[in-house]
Assembly symmetry: C2
Homo-oligomer: 92 residues x 2
Amino acid sequence: MEILKVSSKSNPNSVAGAIAGVMREEGSVELQAVGAGAVNQAVKATAIARGFLSPSGCELISTPSFTSVNISGEDRTGISFFLTARRQGEAF
Amino acid sequence: MEILKVSSKSNPNSVAGAIAGVMREEGSVELQAVGAGAVNQAVKATAIARGFLSPSGCELISTPSFTSVNISGEDRTGISFFLTARRQGEAF
């Protein structure tokens, strides 16, 4: 599965476009973010991407979990968002 | 639906406990967070709550969207996380 690394300097609109592109091709995508600023940009990008995908009847859903990310040879705890979609109106 | 307001000073473990409690009683809950620090705590709380609910066969999923939150008479843009659960292994 494709992994998009999000930083505190990532543009949420650009990340949202990338999310929508990968979702349309593969049906799921993982976002990785380390630090509050990066997590915030990842969440904003997800909220924007929901609007991009909604007209095609896909509702984007997110499952966050903790993950270990290697940055410059150092292991840091970050958040992994596993994004997938369900058809709108579909029951759980 | 119950709304849990999360701040940058919220303890993620305490919020996770509150999420798990409301989820067990009502099946869904909304988190509201304004600012990167608050959004980060809300996401960490969600990741922790997933671990609390997982043994009972419930997988917590999140749909983030933008929302307007009134703080001290001023409207600010924040993030609303709508949390619900699906049975583990259930197809979309």
